[in-house]
Amino acid sequence: MKKYRKEPQENVAFYNNPEKRAIIYQILALAAIFIFTYFILNNMFTNIEKRGINTGFDFLSSEAGFGILQSLIEYDESNSHGKVFIVGLLNTLLVSAIGIFFASIIGLLIGIGRLSKNFMVSKLCMIYVETFRNIPILLQILFWYNVVLASLPNPRQSFSYFDSIFLNNRGLYIPKPILESGFIAVIIAFILGLIACAYLVKWAKTKHDETGEEFPVVWTSLAILIVAPTLVFFVSGTPATLEYAELKGFNFKGGWTLIPELLALAFALSIYTATYIAEAVRAGIEAVPKGQKEAAHALGLKDHIILKKVVLPQALRVIIPPVINQYLNLTKNSSLATAIGYPELVTIFAGTSLNQVGQAIEIILMTMAVYLTISIVISLIMNYANEKMKIKER
């Protein structure tokens, strides 16, 4: 048998011993990194102190004093910079969630569309991908924002639908449901519906395993989830009212408002990210060996069943890792909102708050920590999904 490594010889100096040398170098490298970091930080703090710049996180509890266009939680100008942080964080999460949701749907459809046998469909999808993938996202955000603003009328000449939905250059106004105490029954009905659906899925699987018959689980579940709460809602005497937006003074008041900044940003992010997801989907589907489809055809399965039951499950293994990256990119790209004034984390916390209190180091560190955390969480979730999708070898 061949030996790969020589036995250490007694008379060789320790630094000529490859194993010891490797360890020494690694310790040295680590020490260098530590010393470097220490000196940089030390230098920074010394200079900060010399210049009399405030440090620490006390600013988080001081009054912010500025208004924010949109907040998911109660916020007013007398709240603290800490609250501004939360408001910005929630707005970031909101636009990212909306963007991820629509980008996934559009991406999936376009990706499948690109492989369509229909010439028109596949070419249109290709044009879509090549157009939106090759224009910088910042330009697209600005473009959609300006298009949205330019094409919408002022509040007094709003487009109105059914006298309850209004669209103008201040946003999309929709009625806001005001829940009364009796609404709890509706929520209970919905939860019961969910439990029923879980049983239904189990039952359908057993039935499928035993008889091979397919039961329309998705449609039935949807029906249960919609019909049951609706019935309860009317039986218990409609325990919710709608608050409509009304034109008062300069603008509409009441109801829910979707501001144009959110619409434009979510739209641009979805459209842009969807192109990458579409390409990932296409790559995933093309990676499934042809034989799989042919075998499924030979069994007499229909095209959409083949896609759903044979192709996509195998393709997902290829699709998920690049899609994780796109979700992360979308979240990070949401910080480009600064260009159009959508009040997310970077705009209001790393922007306005930073300028009001001037503590760049603390604020930038906090902001970076947020993006790092979001990225890690998305990665963990998607890695879990990836693990689930792996081929299970039995």
């Binding site: 630094y15 170098y25 040295l28 490298a29 260098a32 010393i35 470097f36 000196f39 940089i40 030390n42 230098n43 200079n47 900060i48 010399k50 210049r51 009399g52 710049i53 405030n54 004093g65 500025f66 208004g67 924010i68 266009l69 100008e77 300006n146 603003l149 330019a150 002022n154 250059n169 201040r170 008062k248 003074g249 300069f250 603008n251 008041k253 144009p260 600064t338 260009a339 159009i340 004034g341 009040p343 705009t347 209001i348 922007g351 306005t352 930073l354 300028n355 009001q356 209190v357 001037g358 760049a360």
Partner: protein, 338 residues
Amino acid sequence: MKLFKTATLSLAALAMTATVSMADTLDDTKKKGYLSCGLNTGLAGFAAPDTDGVWKGIDVDFCKAVSAAVLGDASKVKYAHLNAKERFTALQSGEIDVLARNTTWTATRDTSLGLNFIGANYYDGQGFLVSKKLGVKSAKELDGAAFCIQAGTTTELNLTDYFKANKMEYTPVTYDTAAQVIEGFKAGRCDVVTSDASQLYALRTQLKDPSSAFVLPEIISKEPLGPVVRQGDDKWFNIVRWTHIAMLNAEELGVNSQNVDQMLNSSNPSIQRLLGVSGKIGEQMGLDAKWAYNIIKQVGNYGEVFERNVGKGSPLQIDRGLNKLWKDGGLQYGAPIR
């Protein structure tokens, strides 16, 4: 062994870089041969490119004046164009040596940011720009209106105070730059633009039809705008402060860019001290004796700078108002040079 050496050497190099101490801005500026000066990203009258792409304005002229005083040449300035959010970090981190960017002098900024304001070279106040179509005559009628504002400014905070004091509500639409603010106003995203009055007049000139909008009579805040330097370098602070004061004294003494050469022969002792004919003011600051002469010759006195950029000689046509010299009833007061 080579690797060993490299490792030790790089460690030593790291240790060296860590001992960089705080710099002497005057020495540094002389050494590098130019002044780094922070300006607005584009605000007519204060810092904006003209049709030939040359940056002009009160703030640009102030940068030039400091450069003339320190380096004897007004053209040796490297401009950094900063938005409201970037300006203080740029100064704190040493990217620029002087911030001349219509910045309001406030207690918080002066005390907690490691910065020093040298004084006010433009006394301003916050106002409201509205479209005539809106039919509003006073700021008190603006309850519920949407406001386009530039992020990270004192404007944002004053607006809150004003609306709270008057028990009114407003919707803030906050943008990064003044250009975005006026675009938002043009597109109808907001009803009102609020900012320093001088800025409103500048922004108004960018409308398709400037006469379609006007500035409401209410001025809701004091906005003393002035250049800023880093804290902890007193020598530099003095130079920048006295650059401003020298320009005020020049106007008061009737010395301007046209007559400064004749004035060198003036028998007025104040003019002699200002122009370095007598006294040692320049040397005491570590500058050339002709520091003020260079400022006036190459840039002009305060009045010239004002009229040329925002006053009667400019499209903005702003009245000098509070910015008149003290002896004409204004607030600009140059401490004596002696």
